[in-house]
């Protein structure tokens, strides 16, 4: 079977649309038609076409204008212009504007057939190119970690470097920065790559359950232990153990793990027989463990055992240059998963995404793009699709503030914005000036000199 294309036929004459429609149907191509330039743009906005056949002479927006608009917004779409005999100069204009070919109508069936052969080979080159581009992205992605910014380039170097050693690693970084992905990448580049990678989220498990997950238990060791179970420390056998949210484990668990790291043996719950274990430990935390030590919540000796090498992940706001790359990646991922054709984003929407501070980092961006793709009614994401990320909200760094604190900060901002003109500020705030005066007095605020 020949490759099938999605083709849009644009002509104001019904008879031309129909004859081309019948013609292309004989090849099994997927065909749609539009009677005008604006109708064509509307259809392209809804779903992608690989080829447009456009009549140059149409009332309103003519074929050349449509061609220019399409080439500007959807440069990968191929356009063939149909023009009347004797207007060869307009055909030349079309070619300069980026048309792939032109047909002088009426044309012979074999002429259209030849043009289509050429288009199909161009289309093949284009998809090969996209395929290659995809491969290149894969390489820079470094096992699903996406980014080409200097902090990420530096991170890739660090991952390769630390993967060589067998020392314990502590990955630090804010929530949503991809600590588990980095742990997996280190494992994948290490000598233990062919052995298991076992990840446990310590923050999600109560202490007793965590203990049995890690160390396993003998049958009857506690109520509900109907079978013996090997713990992850044993299951990981030679691989990498990834303990996420290590800052959340209890003091007792810290002691137990410290002993495992020293002795390389474990006793499962309810058993007296030691089992030898071998693994590389990678831990991760979003907390400041040094501060935890000062407060006496985290054992210093355990800290030094897990923190032999430190890898810090930058928050997304420190590598905003990667946001377009990430947005493209998530857009493709969720378009694929939802089988929707959402493959582009308006520049003002992208500007909003890059200006936002992303307190939840890559994970938050991922969720935001997923939500936008799922709800989008067209193939292009617009500012409206991200209206829930209001700029006012975006400008406020996320801090665990009380309502009172937010209120004070907001009133101060309005006052500053109005140069402390009480009447105007009160108007904006929707309260009367007396109330505002009282508020200022109660807070002991002074107009800045």
């Amino acid at each position: 079977m020949e490759p099938k294309l999605r083709i849009l036929i644009v002509d104001d004459e019904l008879i031309v649309r129909e004859s081309l429609l019948y013609w292309f149907k004989k090849y099994g191509h997927e065909i749609d038609t539009a009677a005008s330039g604006p109708e064509a743009l509307e259809k392209i906005e809804q779903k992608p076409f690989q080829l447009l056949l456009v009549d140059i002479k149409m009332p309103g927006m003519d074929g050349i204008e449509l061609l220019e608009r399409v080439k500007k917004d959807y440069p990968e779409t191929l356009v063939v212009i149909i023009t009347a005999h004797g207007s060869i100069e307009s055909a030349a204009r079309a070619m300069r504007a980026g048309a792939s070919d032109y047909l002088l109508k009426p044309f012979k069936p074999e002429q259209l057939s030849l043009v289509m052969e050429k288009i199909l080979s161009q289309q093949k080159i284009a998809s090969d190119y996209h395929y290659l581009k995809g491969c290149l992205n894969q390489i820079t992605q470094f096992d699903n970690i996406i980014g080409q910014s200097p902090p990420m380039e530096k991170l890739y170097g660090i991952i390769l470097e630390v993967a060589k050693s067998d020392a314990s690693i502590l990955i630090t970084g804010e929530t949503g920065t991809g600590k588990e992905l980095v742990a997996k990448a280190i494992h994948a580049k290490s000598q233990r790559a062919h052995l298991p990678f076992v990840a446990i989220n310590c923050g999600a498990l109560p202490d007793s359950l965590l203990e049995s997950e890690l160390f396993g238990h003998r049958k009857g060791a506690f109520t509900g232990a109907e079978h013996s179970r090997r713990g992850f420390l044993e299951v990981v056998s030679g691989g990498t153990l990834f303990l996420d949210e290590i800052g959340d484990i209890s003091a007792k668990m810290q002691v137990d793990l410290l002993r495992v790291l020293d002795d390389k043996t474990i006793f499962s719950v309810g058993s007296k027989t030691p089992v030898e274990v071998d693994f590389r430990l990678i831990s991760a935390t979003r907390k400041d463990l040094e501060q935890g030590i000062q407060k006496g919540e985290f054992r210093e000796d355990f800290f030094y055992r897990i923190n032999v090498i430190r890898v810090h992940l930058p928050p997304l706001r420190e590598r905003k240059g990667d946001i377009p790359l990430l947005v493209d990646h998530f857009m493709a991922k969720y378009s694929h998963e939802t089988t929707k054709h959402v493959d582009r984003i308006k520049s003002d929407a992208m500007a909003l995404l890059t200006s936002y501070d992303w307190p939840g980092n890559v994970r938050e961006l991922k969720n935001v793009v997923e939500r936008a793709v799922v709800l989008s009614k067209s193939r292009t994401l617009t500012l409206d699709d991200f209206s829930f990320l209001r700029p006012a909200h975006a400008a406020l760094p996320f801090e665990p503030m009380t309502l009172k604190e937010v209120e004070e900060a907001h009133i101060l901002k309005v006052l500053d914005g109005q140069n402390w003109q009480i009447t105007r500020a009160a108007e904006i705030l929707g309260i009367n000036r007396v109330s505002l005066h009282k508020y200022i007095k109660r807070c002991n605020w002074q107009k800045p000199a």
Binding site: M1, E2, E13, I15, V16, E18, S19, L20, Y22, W23, K25, K26, Y27, G28, I82, K105, P106, F107, K108, P109, E110, L112, S113, L114
Partner: protein, 175 residues
């Protein structure tokens, strides 16, 4: 309805050409094919500007005629036919439809202007009919050069393709 193909001459058409077409339909599609009474060419399908017959209008006209007892109709015409965007076509059929049309007009001249033998003209006519009938059976153009559903651009291309469907197209044929 069981498939039964009617081959109908439109206007004056050499009887032998119609016979050859019907015989080949039976031979290659293994379907009964009967030669029907000649019907007049509706002059309303003639395009004064192009001096040719509009294939789409002719097909529409065929749809208004009574061909009871026949599941598909292949009409044969000696005049030159076109569809609006093209200068001419050799044949026309609506994908998955019931009426097809083939024109003998361009079959008796080679691309270089020489005249082919009568037997070659009949061969071309038969292939054209088999190809258009394939469209009625909802077969698409096929990439395989050794297939009747391969698109023939210039007349010599019709010489190169075989009478039969390739394996892929044969499997797609509704049974």
């Amino acid at each position: 309805m069981k498939e039964r193909i009617g081959v109908v001459p439109l206007g004056e058409v050499p009887a032998l050409a119609v016979d050859v077409i019907a015989a080949n339909i039976t031979a290659y599609y293994r379907l009964p094919a009967d030669i029907l009474l000649k019907r007049p060419i509706p002059e309303s399908a003639f395009d004064e500007a192009r001096l040719k017959y509009n294939a789409g209008l002719l097909i529409n006209m065929l749809g208004t005629l009574d061909f009871s007892g026949y599941s598909r109709i292949v009409a044969v015409i000696s005049r030159d036919i076109f569809i609006p965007i093209f200068n001419y076509v050799y044949g026309q059929a609506v994908q998955g439809g019931s009426h097809a049309l083939v024109s003998l007009y361009r079959l008796n001249r080679n691309a270089d202007g020489s005249t082919p033998s009568a037997s070659l003209v009949f061969e071309r006519a038969a292939k054209l009919a088999l190809h258009e009938l394939g469209h009625l059976f909802n077969l698409y153009h096929c990439n395989e050069p050794k297939c009747i559903m391969h698109f023939s651009g210039i007349i010599e291309d019709l010489n190169k393709i075989p009478f039969y469907l390739c394996g892929d197209c044969a499997r797609r044929l509704p049974r």
